[in-house]
């Protein structure tokens, strides 16, 4: 079997490793035009800030690939012919496949703002993006970041590390409004203030203004304010990369490449996984396009089994994610929506220093089963929460065992007693109101 994988991100590589394990004799080829070797996209910021060197963000040493007989092709896949089962490459002969995985990832999403093609305006998704950012922020004084999500705050932290003043434009009333409840967002806002990041909430980008040389000079916001800057970061999300899929009419696409629950596309022996894939029928309450490092890894592993003749449905299990907002760590397990859903209740505790907080959501009508947790500045054990969420453990039971989930290092102050006291009061108050 010859498996060709387009894309050497976490999805493509996870699939390659799993197939190698399941089919020691398979021929596996990874095609990427971004970098010769797989690297950790989530670590790009640390290279810019000088915490790491570019070679440090490669999850595997260069010897790993030949030793595991994973062929790496550094080229652009320009066209796909599912009838002949070949992929055209930018710099060589066509590549014939028995099975094909499209793991082409994302492209940055922009909204056709006037001036978005000026020099010094860009997004951050790939290593070439980082290189460009690195050149265009050299010696500048002020930058504007558009977007109040994970990449937006990462850009702010990166620029701050080089002493560049940053103004963030955030469309919502608080940071990461689509995901974080206001209380948690307030803690992030404190981090932004402590690091001298100016934030304009309820403000969008109207126009980017250039100078005579075609370089960005300022932005005009939706509120009419003009902010002088020498660089603009567009952190307004990503969309599935359909570049290769568009060359093949046999592939059904919508926003992403459409796949069934086995991550199989409309073409035989062609699969899609990770950021570029769109599930035709996502499970209730789930999104059709998942764009996380973790989901990419899980989809890559899952599709490897199907490719190796063990048809396996993609079953993600309870949602989880993590991030770090400047110095504030965030972990979440299960679902904690920004606005409480009908039939759910929420308990929230916050330390007076505004550096630790914990929120637990649960369903009173379903035996108080927990549905999600947000941990800010407190580390929580994944396995423990996974178990509680899968079994629908009542919130009272979770509180009794809360210490079991603590993953903070030794000697860190434990907050369980305060949390339990506060949550017990909140639960009692809920009972009286119902």
């Amino acid at each position: 079997m010859h498996l060709v994988i387009i894309g050497n991100g976490i999805t493509g590589v996870s699939c390659a490793l799993a197939v190698r394990r399941l089919r020691p004799k398979a021929r596996i080829t990874l095609v990427s035009d971004e970098t010769p070797h797989h690297y950790s996209r989530t670590a790009l910021m640390y290279v810019y800030m000088g915490h790491l060197r570019p070679q440090d963000i490669k999850p595997y040493g260069d010897w790993f690939w030949p030793e595991n007989r994973l062929e790496l092709v550094h080229a652009t896949a320009t066209a796909l012919d599912t009838a002949r089962k070949t992929v055209a490459l930018s710099n060589g002969p066509h590549l014939a496949y028995d099975q094909l995985l499209l793991a082409t990832g994302s492209v940055s999403r922009t909204f056709d703002w006037p001036g978005q093609h000026l020099t010094g305006v860009q997004s951050l998704y790939s290593l070439p993006d980082l290189e460009q950012m690195h050149r265009h922020t050299h010696g500048i004084r002020h930058a504007v970041v558009v977007g109040g999500g994970l990449i937006g705050i990462e850009l702010a932290e990166m620029l701050h590390s080089r002493g560049i003043a940053v103004t963030m434009l955030v469309r919502d009333a608080h940071y990461w409004g689509a995901v974080l409840p206001p209380a948690e967002a307030e803690l992030v806002d404190l981090q932004l203030r402590q690091h001298q990041i100016e934030v304009r909430y309820r403000t969008g980008l109207a126009e980017i203004v250039g100078d005579a040389d075609g370089r960005v000079r300022a932005v005009r916001t939706s509120t009419g304010e003009e902010i002088e800057c020498q660089w603009v970061g567009l952190a307004t999300g990503v969309a599935p990369n359909l570049g290769l899929a568009a060359t093949c009419p046999a592939l059904a696409t919508d926003r992403g490449i459409l796949v069934d629950e086995y991550l199989q596309t409309s073409a035989p022996d062609v699969y899609a996984a990770g950021d570029c894939a769109q599930l035709r029928q996502p499970a209730a309450g789930e999104v059709p396009i998942e764009q996380l490092w973790y989901t990419g890894r899980m989809q890559g592993e899952t599709v490897a089994h199907t490719i190796c003749g063990q048809p396996t449905r993609y079953r993600r299990g309870p949602w989880f994610n993590s991030a770090k907002f400047f110095q504030l760590e965030y972990q979440t397990y299960g679902r904690v929506p920004a606005i409480l859903e009908l039939g759910e209740e929420s308990c929230y505790w916050q330390h007076p220093n505004a550096r630790q907080a914990l929120r637990i959501n649960f369903r009173p009508a379903q035996n108080h089963a927990v549905t999600g947790v947000n941990a800010m500045g407190i580390r929580q054990r994944h396995e423990v929460w996974e178990g509680w969420l899968r079994t629908g453990t009542p919130v009272q039971e979770v509180l009794r065992q809360l210490g079991k989930a603590n993953f903070d290092p030794e000697f860190f102050r434990r907050h369980e007693a305060d949390i339990i006291r506060s949550f017990t009061q909140q639960l009692a108050a809920l009972r009286t109101t119902h």
Binding site: M49, G50, S322
Partner: protein
């Protein structure tokens, strides 16, 4: 944009150094200069003045700089520009620092012996500047080793202050840093001095065989029993034997080798404080790991064998042994005790990282490592599927462990070399790593939330 030459970015500019920072670093530089003039100053009074002024400027400047650099920022991981500044990324400043440090050790070990008339070579004036301090503490004249001990302790204390500022957000790092500062100052500097003041043998309660190899050599045991008197001498020999052979396995069983290497040991104390700016320089490659295993275990085997042979020789059972073991012990003292642990171990901090000796040379670390790997409750747990392979953990590992290889597979980290400094856990941006002394059952349990890519990486 061409990335065919792999992941390479041109080196970006480092932010300008502020006037305050320049002033503080100037104080550090003037302090070093003042100490240098001491060596060439024939006037003893002026030399002494320069000596204390130099130490004051050096310590005050470093502490002030640490506060300026780390103390004014919100508490947290502060590694900005670590790989961009020449001083911490093998640039010209780092090479200069390495040459100066190495040179100091060479002069100290081989060109500063007392010539019999109280003359200590190039370090003579520095040694004599400490005369009052030595008399006060030890009731005996200063010598080059007292000078070295003073510098060493000062480095641990001052750079310990820096580490406290830098890692103040982590109670684990704070307590651990205070611990190494305490053991260096109290147990490895003041206490041996006091023993001398009371006409007792100079003894270091925080160093054990096989690191302090001579403590279980028959010659030293004889000397301790004789000079220590019936009470103290017996106690010191008892302490040496019990700490090396009983307490070490027991403590390592419960806490891993960290109880010694990153909490008590003086070599570790210097590495964790003065060496902290260089921890990321340790080589994480598979090749380096192979060299580590090739070097450190033969050294352990050699010193164990040598100790046994010395006792066999001392017992008189095999008279022919004496002429062989004595030169062997001398050779070991020169090659391992002096060249490796001192000159290479500390002198190469700015180029090869702060644990070169601990990683490649220390027989105590090898011994503790074997215990830690096969007979301990200690492990670094990984948190389910939360790893993003960013590499911050591997970067800060001073022992050159490629931590992310384990974390991204959801595997606990159980490595003989891990000294448990906890920096991987401190630096992890996603809360994935945690040092734990759990039960031994399930110690190697892999997280079910990551399907292990069981390819040939770790063996």
């Amino acid at each position: 944009m061409d990335f065919s030459s792999d992941l390479t970015l041109s080196r970006p500019p480092v932010p300008e150094t502020s006037a305050t920072e320049k002033t503080l670093l100037t104080a550090v530089g003037l302090g070093l200069l003042a100490l240098l003039t001491v060596a060439f100053d024939a006037d003893a009074g002026r030399a002494r003045l320069s000596f204390w002024l130099g130490l004051l400027l050096l310590s005050g400047g470093t502490l002030g700089w640490a506060w300026y650099k780390f103390g004014r920022q919100p508490a947290g991981v502060q590694h900005n520009n670590l790989w961009l500044r020449g001083s911490t990324s093998r640039g010209s400043v780092a090479w200069l620092t390495a040459v100066v440090l190495t040179g100091f050790y060479v002069v100290l070990y081989w060109f500063s012996n007392d010539d019999g008339q109280g003359n200590f070579g190039p370090l003579n004036q520095l040694v004599h500047a400490l005369e009052p301090a030595s008399q006060a503490l030890r009731h005996r004249p200063s010598d080059q080793w007292f000078l070295y001990g003073t510098f060493y302790t000062l480095a641990v204390l001052v750079m310990g202050g820096r580490a406290l500022w830098k890692y103040r957000h982590s109670p684990y790092q704070r307590i651990r840093t205070v611990s190494v500062m305490f053991f260096q100052l109290g147990v490895a500097f003041l206490l041996p001095g006091l023993l001398l003041a009371f006409q007792k043998p100079e003894y270091y309660f925080s160093y054990f065989w096989p690191l302090k190899y001579e403590y279980l050599f028959p010659g030293t045991v004889d000397y301790l029993l004789k000079d220590g008197g019936p009470g103290l001498g017996v106690f010191l020999v008892f302490w040496s034997a019990v700490m090396s052979l009983v307490a070490t396995p027991v403590l390592t069983y419960f806490f891993g080798k960290r109880w010694y290497c990153s909490w008590v040991c003086g070599c570790g104390g210097l590495a964790e404080t003065a060496g902290d700016p260089y921890r990321h320089l340790s080589d994480k490659s598979r090749t380096a790991w192979r060299w580590e295993v090739r070097i450190i275990y033969p050294i352990l085997a050699f010193i164990v064998l040598l100790t046994a042979l010395l006792w066999l020789g001392a017992s008189g059972a095999v008279p022919a042994l004496q002429p062989i073991t004595e030169p062997l012990a001398k050779a070991y003292g020169f090659a391992i005790g002096a060249v490796f642990s001192g000159v290479v171990g500390v002198g190469f901090y700015p180029l090869m990282g702060n644990r070169v000796w601990c990683r490649f040379g220390c027989p105590m670390a090898a011994y503790l490592g074997l215990l830690q790997k096969h007979f301990s409750r200690f492990r670094i747990s990984t948190n389910g599927g939360q790893c993003i392979s960013c590499g911050n953990c591997s970067n800060v590992c001073e022992m050159g462990i490629d931590v992310k290889q384990y974390a991204q597979r959801g595997e606990p980290i159980i490595r003989a070399s891990c000294v448990g400094c906890g920096l991987c856990s401190t630096a992890c941006p996603r809360g994935v790593l945690n040092l734990e002394n759990g039960p031994r059952e399930g110690r190697y349990q892999v997280s079910q939330l990551i399907h292990a890519d069981s390819l040939r990486i770790l063996n």
